[in-house]
Amino acid sequence: MALHTLNRAPADSSCLQDCLNAMTPGDELILIEDGVYHALPAHIGKLEKDNLKIWVLSEDAHARGISARLAKAAIVTDSAGFVGLCCSQDKVVSWF
């Protein structure tokens, strides 16, 4: 099982698509840097995959002013939580 990180904004749809195609059930996704915009209600629908857990790095969401706008399906975590996710999955796959 893998933790996938995604740091690209929504206009880079191919990065998101490559990420989703690479995911196995049980994998998790953490949105970082410009990737956090995918957690907005307008975009979260494109991330729907059966039972996919979607995390959002709080520092990056806060920086960009979207903390109060995040879709309910997105779970906010901080850097310590990010580290924990890396440990609970077998490997990390970075999409950028």
């Binding site: 740091n7 690209r8 904004a9 929504p10 206009a11 840097e33 410009d34 915009y37 907005l40 209600p41 307008a42 975009h43 520092e59 990056d60 806060h62 920086a63 960009r64 002013g65 979207i66 903390s67 109060a68």
Partner: protein, 119 residues
């Protein structure tokens, strides 16, 4: 011999330095008293979003700097209406009053400026 400059923003804030570099060029052209317009396309509309607080990621607040543009007599700010809608935003979500451009009005903006710089 003044020339109008259109500065095209395509990138979201903070992930890359492009937005800040675009802003610095806009301010400099303003100092040279060149007519400057800024256009925000796609992910770049997020540059104008309220409530940005980038201290925790070690960066300066881009929105604060953008909101100072009118003080430098740069008030020609154009936002692609489709980009705003695609991101689920409306003009009230932005830090500044902007002119919304429908899809057909984007190309004339390029035609109406002497020089175009993209970021």
């Amino acid at each position: 011999m003044s020339k109008s400059v259109l500065i095209v923003n395509r990138k979201a804030p903070y992930g890359s330095s492009a937005p800040r570099e675009a802003l610095d060029v806009a301010l400099t052209c303003g100092v040279f008293e060149q007519p400057v317009s800024l256009l925000f396309l796609g992910d770049a509309v997020f540059q104008l979003l309220k409530a940005q607080q980038p201290d925790a990621i070690g960066q300066k607040n881009l929105a604060s700097n953008l909101s100072a543009l009118p003080m430098y007599d740069i008030d020609q700010l154009f936002v692609c209406a489709e980009s705003l809608a695609n991101n689920g935003l409306d003009p009230d979500d932005l830090i500044l009053p902007v002119t919304l451009l429908e899809k057909d009005s984007v190309a004339p903006l390029f035609a109406n400026h002497d020089v175009v710089l993209t970021f």
